[in-house]
């Protein structure tokens, strides 16, 4: 089947069990709304177009609390508006998926041109200390897979998960085989763990070995309080030091103690690479072509393609640093992931950037030229 990235995200969401979508029209993410407005009512799901992106994420969180897997999709300007309720979903630990199809910014910016300039916004856009899960894709098949993974991770860790792709991948059409084989690890579905104890024993925000408390849906007998205020283990607002600290620590620990489950990357020709390109999204496609061509010229170069953007995959960078003396980080922004690479590198290798912010893609020859320049 021939699908564009946005359509593959829809297929992934439906496969993952998404049955509620609230959104607001915005280029270049609108196809996700359009297709879901047709598909969701066919499967007893609900589609609603809200008055803005703030309302969209509010409705998504409400639907998730009522027990329905939910998603919204937007681009940079809408993602800015969602930061308020994104923080709510984090502190109240409500699973949901937010798709951000990046376009050039700041502000209204470049509505129909690609960009990767929301990488840091996806990490730090909402106020306060918080962990976040952000996944990226460079193929249509990956759009399908990471959307399913985003739902699985958000359900498992009771936290919002962000699908961060660029306009190129969103609108690119590729052949894709949609696997519905339940033994296929890539498309296995995970549902939130519900409480099994009697309601009077249920402590909604109690610490557990995994750091993730079981989640009761509204209307199922476990009446509890959900709030955006810092709360105690029962969900009630607290200003006690001995409750605030452990709560914020648990929010971080439930993600940081599960890095191996959350983080994925692809290594291409990195075993003996003296130079490695670190890329993600559509730039990883150009980078792969550049690596193949450079190998043809006898240059020992590899590609580290990040699929998990946040939490940043330190271990993957450390792995390529075992052989590489040079890292190149091409990005369609002024240098966002390259800061993370430099932070992990700590002077071991030389880190070079390649930044492009004119609304056009970074081509294989541009990456190849950069390799020649710095080799």
């Amino acid at each position: 089947m021939l699908l564009q990235g946005n359509e593959a995200i829809v297929e992934g969401a439906l496969r993952a069990g998404c049955r509620f979508f609230a959104g607001y029209p915005i280029t270049p993410a609108t196809e996700i709304s359009e297709v879901l407005s047709v598909r969701l009512p066919q499967v007893e799901g609900t589609f609603i177009q809200m008055e803005d992106e703030i309302a969209s994420l509010g409705a998504v969180i409400g639907a998730s609390l009522a027990g329905v897997k939910s998603m919204t999709a937007t681009s940079g300007p809408g993602f800015s508006l969602m930061q308020e309720n994104l923080g709510f979903a984090i502190i109240a630990e409500v699973p949901c998926v937010i798709v951000n199809v990046m376009r050039g910014g700041p502000s209204t910016g470049l509505p129909t041109f690609p960009s990767q300039s929301d990488v840091m916004q996806s990490r730090w856009g909402t106020h306060g200390d918080h962990p976040i899960i952000v996944l990226s894709a460079s193929t249509v098949r990956e759009c399908y897979e990471i959307t399913i993974r985003a739902f699985n991770l958000s359900e498992k860790f009771r936290t919002p998960a962000i699908v961060l792709i660029d306009e190129v991948v969103a609108h690119m059409r590729e052949k894709i085989v949609l696997s519905d084989d339940s033994d296929d690890e890539e498309v296995k579905i995970f549902n939130r763990v519900k409480p099994t104890m009697p309601p009077e024993w249920y402590i909604p925000y109690e610490d557990t070995p995994s750091g993730v408390p079981p989640m009761a849906n509204f209307g199922e007998g476990y009446r509890y309080h959900v709030t955006g205020l810092t709360h105690d283990i029962r969900g009630f607002p607290t200003s006690r030091q001995d409750e605030i600290g452990p709560f914020i620590a648990r929010l971080h620990r439930k993600i940081s103690s599960h890095f191996s489950e959350i983080q994925t990357a692809e290594f291409f020709e990195t075993e003996d690479a003296e130079m490695t390109v670190v890329a993600y999204g559509c730039v990883a496609r150009s980078a792969k072509r550049a690596v193949i061509e450079a190998r043809g010229k006898g240059i020992k170069v590899g590609l580290l393609k990040l699929i998990t953007i946040w939490p940043f995959m330190r271990s993957a960078v450390e792995k390529v640093l075992q052989t590489s003396k040079i890292l190149i980080v091409p990005e369609m922004n002024m240098g966002q992931i390259s800061r993370e690479v430099k932070r992990v590198n700590r002077g071991i290798a030389k880190v070079y950037t390649l930044n492009k912010v004119d609304g056009t893609i970074i081509t294989p020859p541009e990456i190849l030229n950069r390799m020649m320049e710095v080799a």
């Binding site: 049955r19 509620f20 609230a22 047709v38 009512p41 066919q42 007893e44 609900t46 609603i48 809200m50 008055e51 803005d52 703030i54 309302a55 969209s56 994420l57 509010g58 409705a59 998504v60 969180i61 409400g62 639907a63 998730s64 609390l65 009522a66 027990g67 329905v68 939910s70 308020e84 309720n85 709510f88 849906n217 509204f218 209307g219 199922e220 007998g221 009446r223 509890y224 309080h225 959900v226 709030t227 955006g228 205020l229 029962r234 009630f236 607002p237």
Partner: protein, 278 residues
């Protein structure tokens, strides 16, 4: 313990750390009492009620009562309510907001929830001020009044919340005051039972902030003002416009029928399934 107190206690969360956050003499407690009495009269199960709030003094109301409770972001309560209701239509969704919450930061959500006819009951505590932040002027602070951000006088015109709700398309709109507690019980019962978007505006007082800055007296004196300035809608029909100039109309302003969103969406599902031959 008197019967009426026993009834309230049946619905309170006893594991919550009382005392509550409201100032002595606040009207919000009377509104909570009316809400509980209306729910009890209808006979809803605690499990089927979802009580949702925004931010401010009214935002703290859900935490005290034993329902499914959700304290959302400022002004956004109706958006969360939309999601809860559409995801699980069997739930009875009640939203409580303040005036700043409902018609300043949440004004857009308010008119669109009314326009869509989402089956949610919205209770709005209108005390003409931002009480929790210390008494700044709100969209319902009347022209010429003082607040901590209009120390020289308020030069803006105020919103009439109920009239705004009527214009936006709410199928049930009622207004009361905290002085008229029994009327509140009735208005809330009607609003909760009404299919579609229903609004109960409750004129309340903030004697601690708004009242003090405008020398309006104690909580009791401000409630006496409500008593003296409230006119039932039926009576107002026989009064001249000049007699109604500084009056608040109380009672049922609108009670009409319009298609309810979730029922209409069910029809969409049928059409979508027919389109796939399913």
């Amino acid at each position: 313990m008197p019967e009426v107190t026993k009834l309230i206690h049946k619905y309170l969360r006893h594991d919550k750390k009382f005392p509550h956050v409201w100032c002595p003499g606040c009207g919000t407690g009377i509104i909570l009492g009316a809400l509980i009495r209306a729910i009890d009269r209808i006979g809803y199960e605690k499990d089927e009620v979802v009580l949702i709030s925004g931010i401010g003094c009214s935002g703290r109301l859900p935490v005290y009562v034993d329902f499914n409770t959700l304290h959302t972001t400022h002004g956004r309560a109706l958006t969360f309510a939309t999601g809860v209701k559409l995801a699980k239509p069997s739930l009875k969704v009640i939203v409580i907001m303040g005036d700043g919450d409902a018609v300043a930061i949440g004004g857009n959500h308010f008119i669109h929830a009314a326009r869509r006819n989402i089956d949610v009951a919205a209770i709005i505590v209108n005390n003409s001020t931002y009480g929790m932040t210390g008494g700044q002027y709100s969209p319902t602070t009347p022209y010429g009044m003082r607040s901590t951000t209009t120390v020289y006088s308020n030069i803006e015109q105020d919103f009439k919340i109920s009239e705004l709700a009527v214009t936006a398309g709410a199928v049930f709109v009622g207004r009361g005051t905290v002085y008229h507690a029994k009327l509140l019980d009735d208005l809330m019962e009607k609003a909760f039972l009404k299919p579609g978007f229903s609004v109960v505006e409750v004129v309340s007082h903030c004697h601690v902030q708004y009242g003090r800055q405008n020398r309006l007296g104690s909580a009791v004196e401000m409630m006496e003002w409500q008593r003296d300035h409230a006119v039932p809608v039926e009576k107002a029909l026989k009064m001249k416009p000049e007699e109604l100039k500084d009056k608040i109309l109380i009672g049922v302003l609108v009670d009409k029928e319009l298609p309810v969103y979730q029922d209409e969406y069910e029809k969409i599902r049928e059409r979508a399934k027919r389109a796939t031959g399913g």
